[in-house]
Symmetry: C2
Subunit: 244 residues, 2 copies
């Protein structure tokens, strides 16, 4: 039977989702936990996609196949007993054999979080990135519109990505500001390697430089990487949810 | 000259504020940083009070004396260059020689944070404690009233505290609930060792047991420790501010 898992993790101490020659991966730790629970060998977990080293997740989705007699909806509790404190499964369910956590994914939402402060704040710094000024949210929202829609995002195509096509659809970019926090929620049908971190960095750059929205059109048409802003630190990024 | 510091820290990796024979203390790390900045030896920092091992701070206050020529309001930036990422000073100012961070403190506010979830959530678990049910906030607020005011809190007097008197004044206990978070803000003129963690644990116990508010009167009058709830984990506690 095929089991669908929804999981959350603090990515700080991991080399990312995918198994790597060096470093501990979320995928690897999860597979070991499931093997330990089921007694099966060579469990293969398929995630909705990779999250990079240091990136967090509130609602990553994955699937695996098993012959275990553990009831599907109780599987997550058994797996959690074998997982470290920074990775937990919040839901497990029986799913059709045609379901594929990666290929069936329709929409993904990432959140990039900032805290606004002149000084580093340790209690914010683990899950968000410091910004030492307050950008104008209205201007940011105007700029966001330039990226929404189906576009060739080759300007964000980092080396090491290896994607077959750089065409993606961004459904929405929402901004939430409260007290000293600023969050960007980006929803799309998929993202290139590092794309969300660079996209948000580029929005900040353009806001700072008071650029006109037309610069985004130029950037998307020419694929000019020199127009990109900074690729922001991994710690501020979180995979919020995957929709099917 | 005397300098007043306001600082914030993630207490996870420390044995608490106070220098201990074993373990690294916030106070010790701060003193070393100031010595390194000023070139002075035997810098003695006085905090508003101890925070226990694992307890966090948003606005701890401390003072120290120095002959350094660094402008007082710029001192914090110099100190921060010598501090680890989990301790940061957010403000430094010149203060009267009569000011004493401990003795002059009038009010302290602590926050105890819970997250409501059936499963451990790694992204919440560093700074709050999991609660697997949703208590009735109205009932909690009624119970809170029993503790507000000047009372002999000997029922909360943990061994190892060594306080001269167990009489304290609690000015207010406020509760904030939003989404899956529940926070208790407790303001008083001072607290016994472990008092906030046991007080909030006791409120939860009484709410769970549907106890009448009169039990608090009995508890305060008799000093009966067996009526106390659990002393909650340190990680959920944060010293929010100290007022002078």
């Amino acid at each position: 039977m095929r089991i669908k898992l929804t999981l959350t993790y603090d990515g700080t101490n991991y080399c990312g989702w995918q198994v790597q020659p060096n470093g501990t991966s979320i995928e690897g730790v999860l597979e070991s936990a499931i093997e330990s629970v089921t007694g099966e060998k060579n469990i293969k977990v398929t995630g909705s996609g990779r999250t990079d080293a240091g990136v967090h997740a509130l609602g990553q989705v994955a699937h695996f196949d098993t012959d275990s007699s553990i009831p599907p909806e109780k599987f997550y509790k058994a797996i959690n007993t074998k997982l470290p404190a920074d990775i937990k499964v919040i839901k497990s369910e029986l799913i059709d054999d045609n379901f594929n956590a990666r290929k069936s994914a329709k929409k993904k939402t990432y959140c990039y979080s900032f805290y606004l402060s002149e000084t580093d704040l340790p209690l914010k710094d683990r899950y968000s990135t410091r910004l030492d000024y307050t950008p104008k949210v209205d201007n940011l929202l105007t700029l966001c519109k330039g990226f929404v829609g189906e576009h060739d995002f080759k300007c964000f195509n980092a080396s090491g990505g290896g994607a077959k096509t750089t065409i993606r659809t961004i459904y929405s970019i929402e901004i939430e500001q409260k007290e000293n926090e600023l969050k960007f929620f980006v929803t799309g049908n998929g993202f290139l390697y590092n794309m969300v971190r660079t996209l948000v960095g580029t929005l900040l750059r353009f806001e700072r430089e008071q650029a006109d929205k037309t610069i985004i059109k130029t950037m998307l048409e020419t694929g000019d990487r020199t127009l990109c802003g900074k690729t922001l630190p991994a710690k501020g990024l979180c995979l919020v949810k995957v929709e099917y």
